[in-house]
Symmetry: C2
Subunit: 188 residues, 2 copies
DNA sequence: TATTTACGTCAACTATATTGACATAAATCT
DNA sequence: AGATTTATGTCAATATAGTTGACGTAAATA
């Protein structure tokens, strides 16, 4: 039995133990105390979730802002500036500094819009696509591991749960974004 | 039929529609494409989750950093500086600026440790406790609403899912923190 | 032709974090 | 008792990510 399987067993035991605890407090999950636990779990989960990528980005001299831009450009190639601003909810001035660095470093390229020549449509370069894949791999790995730990019945629930956490008014936009990204991802 | 119930029905329909979509792609949830969707849903969910509190904090001239400090001090009264630094994963210099403002504004107070007089144990003032409650109410309201939208079977799954998202090495610490906070919350 | 839209840019500013160096008082080890 | 470690505070310089406001330009549109 190697370290990996020992670790694996420990993690599964971990998951089982937590599942028991979660079940026990299932009744209180809809209470304030249960909800407060969720608030903190969400904080810790997000902290660790972005931590993986942060470490990789350091090697490139990039930060989280670069990651977000690269990610969404890669997932939705041909995205215009305005679309990116809407997703990221930052000002164009703030985006510009980060985007300029990604353009200069050759991770993203901008092409003139065909329908509307004022637009600058953003695409990842091969180098950018590679980094985006590497970053995404870290994060999807975490999710795939989580799905592996969770009982099958709870797997679909994660997606439902996260979607329900999004502002009601934003859901349509997010759904459209995901559909677009899916289509773009299926193409190559 | 008032606006509220119309909205409520729309949201439930929303939830049902998404549940169908989530179930359809349940098979792909363990695939890379499904995991990529989760990555983005997590981003959007967190963005909206912190957005609520941000708006309230503006009225006080505080930011997210203040929120985090106030939150953890309120949830774990008597927390020492070192404990806070470990939870927030920031440097003491960074904490100090924010903490100083909270102390001066009378939202947090520090008492000399009884067992170890070098420690400064942090407590919320009544005013601080009130703000912490108001902020927490916004966030727990979102979770309670989500739990209401979700089918009962998926409710416990949210907690399991978030816990599984946390770094393995951090889980014990988080569990201890939650237990401690729960005990502190039960006392008064 | 007039207006709006999509974008770029300069400037000043804020918030949140970092590293590094140094200080102090209390606890603890030898 | 003296040396060391620990918990904390503080000064300074710097980085990153964001903001508001003002102004410019080219292309689309009314």
């Amino acid at each position: 039995m190697n370290d990996l399987s020992t670790r694996k067993i420990a993690e599964l035991a971990e998951a089982v133990a937590w599942r028991r605890a979660a079940t026990e407090m299932a009744a209180t999950t809809t209470s304030d105390e249960g909800a407060l636990e969720l608030v903190e779990l969400f904080f810790f989960a997000y902290r660790d979730f972005v931590g993986d990528a942060d470490r990789l980005l350091e090697n490139y001299g990039f930060g989280r802002a670069h990651h977000r831009v690269l990610h969404f450009v890669s997932r939705r190639p041909g995205l215009a500036i305005a679309g990116l601003l809407e997703i990221l909810r930052i000002t164009k001035q703030s985006l510009n500094r980060v985007l300029k660095q990604l353009l200069e470093a050759g991770f993203v390229e901008a092409r003139e819009g065909v329908l509307d020549r004022r637009q600058r449509l953003l695409y990842p370069t091969p180098q950018g696509a590679k980094l985006a894949r590497d970053l995404a791999a870290l994060q999807t790995a975490r999710f795939l591991k989580v799905m592996d730990e969770l009982p099958p019945a709870a797997r679909g629930a994660a997606s439902e749960f996260l979607f329900a956490m999004i502002d009601y008014d934003e859901r349509e936009r997010v759904r459209a974004h995901l559909a677009c990204a899916k289509a773009a991802g299926a193409a190559p």
